[in-house]
Amino acid sequence: MKKLRRKVYMTAGYNTISLGTGRKEFNPKKPRPGIEHYIKEAGQGVLTQIGGAGNVDESVIGNFMAGRFNNQGHLDGFIPMIDKGLAMKPAVRVEGACASGGLSLVTGIRQVLAETSEVVLSLGFEVQNTVKAIYGADILALAGWFKKRKTGHAYFFPGQFSDRAGAYYEKYGYERTRKGMSRWYANAIENARLDPTAQEYHNNISDPYATALKMQPNGKTFVDHLTVLDCSKVSDGASGITICSEEGLKRIGVDKKDAVEVIGFGHAVRDITTDPADLTELETIKFAAHQALENAGITIDQVGTVETHDCFSIAGIMAVEALGLAAKGEGADYVAEGKTGRNGELPFNTTGGLIGWGHPTGGTGVHQAVTIWQQLTGKAGKAQIEISKDRPYGLTINMGGDDVTVTSIVFKRGE
């Protein structure tokens, strides 16, 4: 991938809460806010930080399956609903399953690089609690190849990653892998408890690690190789961020120190009609993340924090390996040793990631960028980690489907 031809920044991030089981406000029997609420809240949350809608040249909105969760298509039409100042301006909806948010970001980056825009409003959202989990599984399964749906598990994606976990157990050992997966869960909960918008913010179980380690996968009630604690939950939520050029930053009156610069990015897609070559490896993540690092001209040991797509704890462990932090089969040990914890060698998912913060599918990619922006600019509140001078970079990895669509971005605080 070519070097970026001009400087691109992100700033003014905003997250709604991630609503679903675990949040005190959530009651499945009572009416909940619809997509309009989430789009508006996230959009306005960004606009108030950048001097209003008049400063925005165009907008991108990422969403996976509003067509079925909410019976709503034509989502770019909701952009002017956020603010009249966005009417009669370009807006586009992008979709790449759970990487829709990441696509919203890279689309915005390309618009700025193409110099068609100086300021882009990038949003991502999903409102999934409209159906029970057993039907939600059908809808989310559309991130796979539909011709494989018939032979897939009732809970299709947990089934896919259960197969991956099963292959990993067999190849590298069950006990050590479960330890790594349990630690991954415990880290997610510990981090989510520090972010008031996180779905697990109210989680107060006394020993998440012990709870996760004790729980055994049971194929009779769920899937063969994962427990519910290995999975991200069903979430409603939206996130937004501004993507802009240097000129754009000036226009919106934001200091570079309060923005993060996009140093490089990667974006790759694998053939959805084929099975992964190796179930124990996430090859597209590996490819796209290395592409991003290369594009940025840095190595992983310069990265101070990572937001990776842990839709399942095993995906988190495999991402550790894909990044080259541990050899194949040793990612679980790396995690079990606490190296991805908030005080570890390389803190991952510092506001909880998909398992802890939540996974409103189409919003997740944008949420990851917001977390990195918060951490690198010192705006992460109680979830703030220390970013050292020798590891000043942040990295995001957003995955759609079973390692099919991946976007990865390298950030650094503006200077």
Binding site: I134, A154, K220
Partner: protein, 447 residues
């Protein structure tokens, strides 16, 4: 006839009632599941839902559709395997809808009882009325040319009497579900001396497929569940009356206190007066009347219950499941007032609660709420500590509670010595699974 052949034509009498609808639902799902097995492909299964009016049957079909969806949603993993050969059914949505269709397709709502003449199995869930049961069974038996078996959801009438009077030749078994059948896991199975072994075998297989906890009870009026509960309830009334007399206080205050003791001191899901309201004072009186002629050494008639009935205060539940007022008046499911039998009005608990609680005395620090014990692993240890503390106290509340626990145990032991229950475990299982007690009545906590 194999298990599946027996299930190919079944009738439920009283199918739209509270018990009948649950029995119909479970049976319909079981029949649909059998029909889905490869060996049963192409076979027809018919379940006649028989009740007195088209209106109640229409309501039943709505109830069924909603409930079958819930059942299907819980076993979608299995259903996907069963429908694996159906290329047109791909998503969970498709599969669940098809299963609902398959179940509903088995059920024939009908007001004409004659359809039962072709059934191999008849489930009866009409009122606890011996002559009605006998009438229906004998009519079906006379007109049915199959080897028809009768499963009766009887909670108190001795089954052998129904057998003899209807001429069923032992092809009957008591299959006593607890309310609501779709949720409550306990089933009391009552065979008579005459009940055929094959009927018993089938009943066990059927109950097991429904994932029920089976407790065999001997054929003695009231069986185990009502045998214990009715006497426990009568004891509660007697204790309240004695307390009112001894302390010279109005009965409603004593009812409040006994209800509190039986819930909080005995760690039960609800107090005994609330439980009588839940069952229904009318139902309780009715069952006592059924049982009374069969018990020799005790009188189960009760003046207070009769008086409540006269005053039209009956408890029980609305069709929504909400609690009707009885001994206690309820707001949001919680007792807020107690019926004053003399003034015939409710007296708010707030107006006398403090005074009564003071008379009872404090609970020891080791007290636990019933709900908190549900998932407790060291229950026995916790109960032992609490009841030992209770025994060491001399408050009025603790004394009454200990005596109540002893009486509850004695009732249980008598069910065993009278051979209603085979052993103390069966009595305890019924009270644990059917009444959600945290510990069985036959224990050593109160000795």
């Amino acid at each position: 006839m194999t298990y599946d052949e027996r299930l190919q034509n079944v009738s439920v009498l009283g199918a739209a009632g509270k018990m009948g609808s649950g029995i119909l639902l479970l049976t319909a799902a079981e029949m649909a599941d059998r029909a889905l097995l490869p060996e049963n492909k192409g076979k027809t299964f018919v379940l006649n839902a028989i009740d007195v009016s088209d209106e109640v049957l229409a309501g039943l079909m709505n109830y069924l559709r909603v409930q079958v969806r819930k059942i299907a949603e819980k076993k979608t993993v299995w259903l996907r395997k069963m429908y694996a050969d159906r290329d047109d059914l791909i998503e969970n949505f498709d599969i669940i809808d098809e299963y609902i269709f398959d179940v509903m397709n088995i059920v024939r709502p009908v007001t004409a009882m004659e359809v039962a003449y072709r059934s191999n199995l008849v489930f009866e869930a009409v009122n606890e009325n011996r002559s009605l049961k006998v009438k229906l069974f004998s009519q079906i038996k006379q007109n049915n040319d199959k080897d028809v078996w009768f499963f009766t959801n009887t909670s108190s009438v001795p089954i052998h009497l129904i057998d003899e009077e209807a001429g069923l030749d032992g092809k009957i078994i008591g299959f006593h579900f607890y309310n609501p059948p779709a949720v409550q896991r306990l089933v009391e199975l009552i065979r008579t001396d005459n009940t055929k072994d094959e009927v018993v075998d089938f009943a066990y297989a059927y109950a097991k497929n429904l994932r029920k906890i089976i407790v065999p009870s001997n054929d003695f009026a009231g069986f185990i569940g009502n045998g214990h509960f009715m006497r426990d309830g009568l004891h509660g009334i007697k204790e309240a009356e004695a307390l009112a007399k001894e302390k010279n206080i109005p009965l409603y205050k004593a009812i409040y206190m006994i209800n509190k003791i039986t819930q909080e001191y005995l760690i039960r899901p609800m107090g005994i007066f609330q439980l009588m309201d839940y069952v229904g004072i009318d139902v309780m009186q009715f069952i006592l009347n059924v049982m009374n002629p069969f018990v020799k050494d005790e009188d189960l008639q009760n003046d207070l219950l009769d008086k409540m009935m006269e005053q039209g205060v009956k408890g029980g539940q609305y069709s929504s499941g909400a609690q009707k007022d009885g001994f206690l008046k309820y707001k949001g499911g919680k007792p807020v007032a107690v019926w004053d039998i003399h003034k015939q009005e409710y007296v708010n608990i707030d107006t006398f609660k403090d005074e009564c609680d003071e008379m009872l005395g404090d609970l020891p620090d080791s007290a636990v709420a019933w709900k908190s014990t549900l998932r407790m692993k060291n229950k026995e240890e916790v109960f032992s500590r609490f009841f030992n503390d209770l025994k060491a106290m001399s408050t009025m509340g603790s004394q009454i509670a200990i005596n109540y626990g002893k009486r509850s145990k004695a009732i249980g032991e008598k069910l065993v010595s009278d051979k209603v229950a085979k052993n103390s475990d069966d009595v305890n299982t019924v009270m644990l699974a059917g009444f959600f007690h945290a510990y069985g009545p036959i224990n050593n906590y109160f000795d």
